[in-house]
């Protein structure tokens, strides 16, 4: 099995979302770009899965394929007992209401010509739920829950709000249908740092209040660390590592995870982590490298890496990596985090 394998999928548990061997590509012929090539992961109810990776690695595409905004070319997306990839368009419309998305650009995700109250109550209007007053009342409650004053904001249009406020409105709209799964596609990367924290806290609160499961896509490890229960690291359409954020920070098993961590700016001068980031560019997904896709930029790459693609394997309990030479060897005992100095907290 190339491309990660499925060793990291949990079985026998209550699983809300199980994605297996997902493949998504764009274009056709020689310019065909395979944005996602064989990704598998699962998310338990109430869990937050963080997905990180640099731009162009396919993380947003993965999120959109899960919501069936782009139909995947291959693979399965099993959500809450229903296989989404084989649903007809009618059934899919209905199933989608349980999977909602929040996007990166908060202003572009709201129709500039409509009023806030109409935008937030639109999902209810689509499904013909309640009268207009009931819908608006529910939308007003939702707006309040995300910290927007409905009396003041309801009649205005999105262009009159800041990015952070627009993101709050998007969240209200996404949650009004009471979805089980929320896919957040870089929801804070377009916002000011201070507003980022507000939005992240809001998402966290709403998630706990409403028992929402989240897939949180970001390129910022620091953001993901704070919100996720598990983190999936992606590179060029493939999964590199899947583990808890603590384990990822303490002892990354995949060389790419290590490089990502090293790229976080150090708030403490002099506390170098030894390895300094990555060199070179992301290879073209039109013609990805043979074997392990990361080998062209990997400091530990050997001849085997060009020949054979490494499958996902458990290197430590709950820590999976797709690498022939993982930095954490299977069976190796993780260093106790107790007395060791905490890794410096990233600045949000």
């Amino acid at each position: 099995m190339t491309g990660g394998g499925t060793a990291h999928l949990r079985s026998g548990q209550d699983i809300l979302l199980r994605v297996q061997d997902l493949e998504v590509s764009f274009g056709s012929g020689p310019h065909r770009v395979q944005a996602v090539s064989g990704i598998s992961f699962d998310v338990a109810p109430g869990e937050t899965l963080g997905v990180v990776g640099e731009s162009g690695c396919g993380k947003s595409t993965t999120g959109r394929a899960v919501a069936q905004v782009h139909r995947p070319d291959a693979g399965t997306v099993r959500f809450d007992g229903t296989e989404l990839t084989t649903l007809g368009s009618r059934e899919l419309r209905q199933a989608r209401t349980k999977v909602q998305m929040i996007f990166q650009d908060p202003i572009s995700s709201l129709n500039p010509r409509r009023r806030i109250l109409d935008i937030v109550s639109e999902p209810l209007a689509i499904w013909g739920l309640g009268t207009k007053e009931e819908r608006h009342r529910k939308a007003a409650t939702m707006l309040e829950a995300v910290g927007i004053d409905p009396a003041q904001a309801g009649g205005r249009r999105p262009t009159e709000f800041s990015g952070g406020q627009c993101q709050r409105i998007s969240i209200a709209r996404a949650l009004i249908l009471e979805p089980k799964l929320l896919i957040c596609d870089e929801p804070v990367s377009a916002l000011d740092v201070s507003v980022q924290a507000q939005i992240l806290n809001l998402l966290q609160d709403l998630k706990e209040e409403r028992a929402i499961t989240m897939v949180f896509i970001a390129h910022d490890l620091a953001v993901v660390k704070n919100v996720s229960d598990r983190v999936a690291v992606m590179y060029l359409g493939k999964l590199c590592e899947l583990t808890t954020p603590d384990a990822l920070y303490r002892q990354p098993a995949h060389p790419y995870s290590e490089a990502l961590l090293a790229s976080i700016p150090e708030p403490v001068p002099g506390s170098e982590r030894g390895h300094t980031g990555l060199t070179g560019d992301l290879p073209s997904p039109i013609d990805p490298p043979s074997g392990c896709r990361f080998r062209t930029r990997c400091p530990y790459a050997q001849e085997l890496c060009a020949r054979e693609e490494p499958p996902m394997a458990e290197v430590a309990p709950g820590q999976f990596a797709a690498c022939h030479f993982p930095l954490v060897k299977p069976g190796q005992v993780l260093p106790e985090p107790g007395p060791a100095p905490e890794p410096p907290r990233p600045v949000l």
Partner: protein
């Protein structure tokens, strides 16, 4: 849903009491809200969306165009002489109280002829642009939203029509298509103008549909389960229409001019029925122009102000909407 996990869309629970918030959370949220409104007040960023923002020039232009259209509509009820009534005792007169704009070489009242003439000119221009917008616009939205093959086919079709210079195309059709009845000559012009206008409007609206279709709010609507029809009419159309409207206004102005050009070649509605173009054509014959230059001047001025008014309106609308797009 086979598994029964999904709530059917009509589930009353969805609209029931929302998940109860604890009072503490509510209070906290309220504080956040208050804080937000004090720290980043949601003040309107510009008054361009308000009517007053269109400016005086726009409203003068709109007033003039509106008056023109109103006069044309009310022509049968206005106290005007028949536009074809000839009185040889008052040939080639200047303006007077009886004939406000004077008379032409056959003693017909110029004001009456201009107002009646603008009727046919405006019918040709407005109807063809409106119908062209309905046809071209719906094709554009289909092409822009679905993309791929539908887009390729419709796009190619629009290029084929656009490849003909409009005036040449109309001349060619004029040469080969003689309508059986004189009364439908007007509608023949309308059809030809529609064929010319539709692909132009198609191109403008397709471009803006393409731009809007990839925006996140369209993706969001789709993921909320909105039907394609709902996405097209509620999400995309309101964003495409303003630009298309301003383009259509300029298109109407252009159609008025093309009608004038056709009349000058004697290919518009047959004489003695007046159109704005026919009037200029008639008055500009060399012996008429010498005897009575004002007979050519008045309809020319009428066209001039009508076209300038339409262009100013279209321009102003476009810049207003451009600014709003720029604010995004």
């Amino acid at each position: 849903m086979p598994d029964g996990h999904h709530d059917p869309p009509g589930d009353p629970r969805i609209l029931g009491a929302p998940a109860a918030f604890s009072p503490a959370v509510d209070a906290e949220v309220g504080q956040v809200a208050r804080h937000l409104h004090t720290s980043e007040p949601a003040t309107p960023t510009g008054s361009t969306s308000k009517r007053g923002g269109l400016g005086v020039v726009f409203w003068i232009a709109a007033g003039w165009v509106g008056l023109t259209v109103l006069l044309a509509l009310l022509a049968p009820f206005l106290p005007l002489q028949s536009p074809t009534f000839q009185d040889y005792s008052v040939v080639n007169l200047g303006p007077s109280t009886h004939h406000l704009l004077g008379t032409d070489d056959l003693g017909r009242d110029m004001l009456s002829r201009i107002i009646w003439g603008s009727r046919d000119s405006l019918v040709i221009s407005i109807v063809s642009v409106v119908v062209g917008m309905l046809i071209g616009g719906s094709a554009a939205m289909v092409a822009g939203y679905w993309g791929r093959k539908v887009d390729a086919v419709l796009n190619a079709a629009s290029f084929v029509v656009l490849a003909f210079p409009p005036l040449l195309f109309i001349l060619a059709v004029e040469a080969f298509w003689k309508p059986p009845l004189k009364s439908i000559e007007l509608w023949k012009l309308v059809v030809m103008f529609t064929v010319v206008a539709a692909p132009q409007l198609f191109r403008v609206m397709r471009a803006s549909t393409l731009a809007v279709s990839n925006r996140e709010f369209v993706v969001a609507a789709r993921s909320m389960g909105a039907s394609t029809w709902r996405i097209l009419t509620r999400e995309i159309l309101p964003n495409v229409l303003p630009a298309a409207l301003s383009f259509a206004l300029i298109g109407i102005a252009l159609a008025v001019i093309i009608e004038g050009a056709l009349a000058f070649l004697g290919l518009s509605v047959a004489l003695p029925t007046p159109t704005l173009g026919n009037l200029i054509n008639e008055a500009a014959q060399i012996y008429n122009l010498k005897a009575n230059p004002t007979a050519a001047l008045w309809p020319s001025l009428y066209i001039f102000f009508l076209v300038v008014g339409l262009n100013l309106m279209g321009d102003r609308l476009r810049s207003t909407f451009d600014v709003r797009e720029g604010n995004l």
